[in-house]
Symmetry: D2
Subunit: 374 residues, 4 copies
């Protein structure tokens, strides 16, 4: 059941990197939502390999088919099965089983866990697994946009040692992000980042980075107390993406150096509702959205598949030099931007549906001082 | 269902800060485990208020009672209900309902979510809620210690601007951690941290910090692919603790600046099994433990309840100056150490039980090159 | 996790028959519902032993305490913990461990499953376990009554060979049911049933029976397709009650003998909505409520604890004669009536909450021929 | 999430009757199990339409493809996606939306629930939905056979008023069941049943029936206390099959008429373990298997789609005469036999995996009187 995500808006993904294909089943999507393959394809296209010289040269078009749950362009309330055929299937064959576990890959751990592993590429540990997430996330994002006008925008804020200047995240949108292949909205930083990636690529090496994400217009009240806090669900979602090593929300690690009197976000009347002056909380208090933008950052390690020769050991413990010959991304963050957005959409859509169960959701009765309303 | 955690070793917590009490029900604990209240009490005592001048002066003894699931000192395989009575109950009364939502607290968001909130203290958003986690986590830790000799040790590595020197985490144990009230094993840093906390306290302010945690002797193979990766479960667990803002595993955010050739952990024969030379992965690859120590860090913001006057707004939007009069911790990290350990224990115990389902778990057949073994 | 029930309105029970007590935690109860111990106590009183000469003479008052989740008489949206202390605790002691597994009891199977079992009485397999269900079910029933005016009424329709005449179930209510100790609303049949039970009791034997249940005013649309059909959830709920052996809905087993042309329930206009002329479906079609009363029956075997000597074998396989000395019910059905109602309430409350997720629930747009309404 | 079933061995089905296809994803199948499409196809072939003159004349070959989770003929431990294309797709079109809700069908209730419904056939309420269950169930059955030698055999024991003589169920196997198209192992009864079905068919009517099922070699200890009792899980599984109205285990409804002294199953030494002399319990005690055969029966109503004209109302409440023109089964039980077996296999496989979590499962230490063994 580890390939399932969500409580109400529930996604189950399947598929190995070199099998017949990959996909997802979404169980819990509300009925009567207008939906077509085109809604999903646009995010898959942002994720696919071969978009620029910064990514792997492999060309995979990743065309999605909706197998069920949609008729006459609208959802039926029944499970939506999504499928993307693999173009690069291999005849499965033990000859493809790599004798050397790639350092910092999942070859060794899958073998230890299951006593067997997929012969070609990474199997379920491959980045192709994220196709199902992006497809399902596009549906979630559409619902959030239509129902609450929620906008989720992620971008590359760090590549290696190159950091984009702090931007007021209120101005960033998909168009600005997609202006550059590296997906950093600051043109100057983007150019340096691209340079950094090309340099790593030339050296047959790889480089890490950070993706920032903002979710605007999230109504207050989303997120469940205790274990299903908004930030807990987001953290799990982000750390489930391959190659991630860290997550922080609002002030994050830097906030640990602040005093409470600086860090607290004072309330203030904004139009007809309460807002906060600062947003060190990153849009959540006690695990529940407060109406301010949700802001978080995700750390990605440098790609573990590199062309550069590496000293390591094979399964029998013998020292060997490993030289990867496959085509790989020298930096995952440009293509991971839609994955981060998709996982955020899955989290928020699930929590938005759960909040429906509390009755008069998103009401503004707080302004009446908490009087009984039912 | 947001107060439940875990798939197999499943914990449900309950209780408000000023109601009759708090507790937890553990469903899925294996039978025939020796267990008594004393096993649980020792971790609760590390969490309780009033331990030193660095914490709140409130004295709460938090004595646990096992209500079910244990007989003649061993578990029955049935749900274990745990209860800790609140000493500081208040007659519930609307007069206790604060008219001003405390900045960066959950008062506002609970009210927006539910249209009602607990009148005294933080209700479920209070730190008292973590008592159930610590009680359940103590059971998980006992099972892990007995079955796999797993040791989970957390400590305070940063308070405000004071950072403990990088220690080889292999040497840290509970005894070293508990030598100082601040729970930093480095005596010099501990002294400076205590000073920092006392300074904040004197200024009626608060300060944040970072807790580091290491899990030793975790066998390879724990963690489930895709959404239930070890690091994803840990991240969710940690970000569900009140006042947390960040999580990183292994190289974390710093690792984003490294090249793949530096970051990759090469394999090497260690005795009769494969290990890695470095541990930038933090003990996990592809979401599954690789046998190396699991190492992660958690960021805590400065306590939001402060005595210092704060300009903010009440529920009606009127500007007010808020001065908290309650007794509070000027820094949460010393008392959060057992909470971090408990949540880690809950995650690992659950994943260890799940791995039993794969049959010959933890075998070393990988060294035979992946031959079929069943 | 086997002691949990429900998806949204989720109940977890705990407690052994001879430990400190039994209880339940309800996670998922909506906020702002008025609730007190008295709402729960009345159903517990209908379940308790010692009500009449037809039940066990043991007197257990089973007084419930709400430990959390309710303040100032209304629910907070947080987990509601409920506790009933056991009056009849025994010092746990291996001397209480019965050397002979009682025939058709759970002694043998618990021992085989867990390698350990509760020493006194039935542990979790005791009927005391149902206290938690009845307590939680009373909350569910209150919500259903208040929100949808749903009425759930169960009664004894068969005891041994005595069958109540088919009554129009529309006329049966709690008051009529509770007129007699046997809980059969037909006075003549009730008298014969009581006689049958007294006869079995006198012979140190026991007798089985059938409980019928009707749920009125259930709106159409409750029940989820495929695996969470209304009847599937009810069947699981009922077969989870100790001593049950069968479940049937609507026409049930008798319906297998009918032709489709007789069995089908034709639609007809009833006021402003569609209803059906007959109700062989028992209020569900395709697993979803259709607005007609939900009607089902549950078979209970004769109590397995009997005073009459029984030839059987001990754990070592030696033949022995077993004579139970405890006080027991000669027939479980009179006291099982509130248990059946409670389980039905838990099922329907959970499905009613789930239906909120589909948007404009319970609308009557079907009369418009299925036009898009969103 | 209502299209998912099981806790550990978890199946999610998808697909409408007239969309691109139907299928299932199995998440939680152990690794290293030998598996091919042929293992699954044989049960699908027993379920498919057009097998004889007793079923619908529609010819659907229902060829299964394994999309993921299997490589080189063995399972990887990752999700197994299964797909069966629909041969009988229709261009989805509002013209196919029936204006009259078919009596005792799900047309009305789906419309009320979702405000939309599939235009062709029954959508998710169609019997085609069971293809995913049968495919997944075949995998479960294979594991159970290989690991525990568990055999699950279902057969038709009643059609309309024709009842097969009580057979000693120990002698029934798949071969005997499949000797006749009606799937009753008693040749004489089978002939009469076939006659009954042909008569109903000729009269453009339909007829109901009962399927009996036995599960042999189930080890003791399977089934979880309280809500996940073996019989509760089986009841839910069976009542989730379209057209079912009842479930009984062991003595079932007839057992309610017995005295406890007759009904109790005395223990006796059978070889080296305890067994019972009679099996009124149907192989379960307290919800847990006792090592005796599990025996249950499932009631199926007469097919609701009939050719005979029916007086009913359309969605607007207007009286109409409905004459179904489609090709349908006059009796569902012959084709439902593999569905019942599949659902039983899913239940038992899930519970068998869960029992692994209790450590030394299926040991016979009970014979030692319950001494501590760990």
């Amino acid at each position: 059941m580890s390939s399932s995500f969500g409580t109400i808006f529930r996604v189950a993904t399947f598929g190995e990197s070199h099998g017949l294909g990959v996909g997802a089943v979404v169980d819990g999507c509300p009925p009567r939502i207008s939906l077509s393959e085109a809604d999903i394809q646009q995010q898959l296209d942002r994720r696919r390999p071969g978009q620029s010289d910064l990514t792997t040269p492999r060309q995979e078009y990743d065309e999605v088919t909706i197998l069920s749950g949609v008729e006459n362009g609208r959802t039926l309330g029944t499970p939506i099965a999504l499928f993307v055929a693999n173009k690069d299937q291999r005849t499965s064959d033990y000859k493809n089983l790599l004798p050397v576990p790639r350092p910092s890959h999942a070859d060794y751990t899958y073998q230890m866990k299951y006593g067997v592993r997929a012969t070609g590429g990474g199997g379920r540990a491959s980045a192709r697994e994220t196709i199902g997430r992006v497809a399902a996330g596009a549906i979630a994002a559409k619902i959030l946009k239509k129902t609450y006008n929620i906008e989720i925008v992620a971008w590359v804020s760090v590549v290696g040692s190159i950091e984009a200047p702090e931007l007021y995240p209120g101005t960033i949108n998909h168009k600005l992000v997609d202006r550059t292949a590296v997906r950093c909205p600051d043109m100057e930083a983007a150019e340096k980042m691209a340079e950094e990636i090309r340099r790593a690529k030339k050296e047959l090496d790889s480089v890490g980075g950070i993706i920032s994400c903002i979710c605007r217009n999230v109504p207050p009240g989303l997120g469940e107390p205790v274990f299903d806090k908004m930030e807990a669900k987001l953290a799990r979602a982000m750390l489930s993406i391959p190659a991630t090593k860290g997550f922080e929300i609002g002030s994050g690690f830097a906030g640990t150096r602040m005093r409470g009197s600086e860090h607290n976000d004072p309330f203030v009347l904004k139009g007809d509702h309460l807002g906060t002056i600062t947003n060190n909380s990153g849009g959540v208090q006690g695990g529940i959205s407060n109406g301010e933008p949700i802001f978080f950052r995700v750390a990605f390690k440098p790609t573990s598949t590199i062309g550069k020769p590496q000293m390591t050991a094979d399964f029998s413990g013998q020292e060997v030099v490993l030289e990867a010959s496959g085509r790989h991304d020298p930096c995952v963050v440009p293509r991971a931007v839609p994955i981060v957005e998709s996982m955020a959409a899955l989290v928020i859509a699930d929590l938005a549906l759960r909040q429906k169960l509390n009755g008069k959701a998103f009401c503004r009765h707080c302004l009446t001082g908490g009087k009984e309303i039912v």
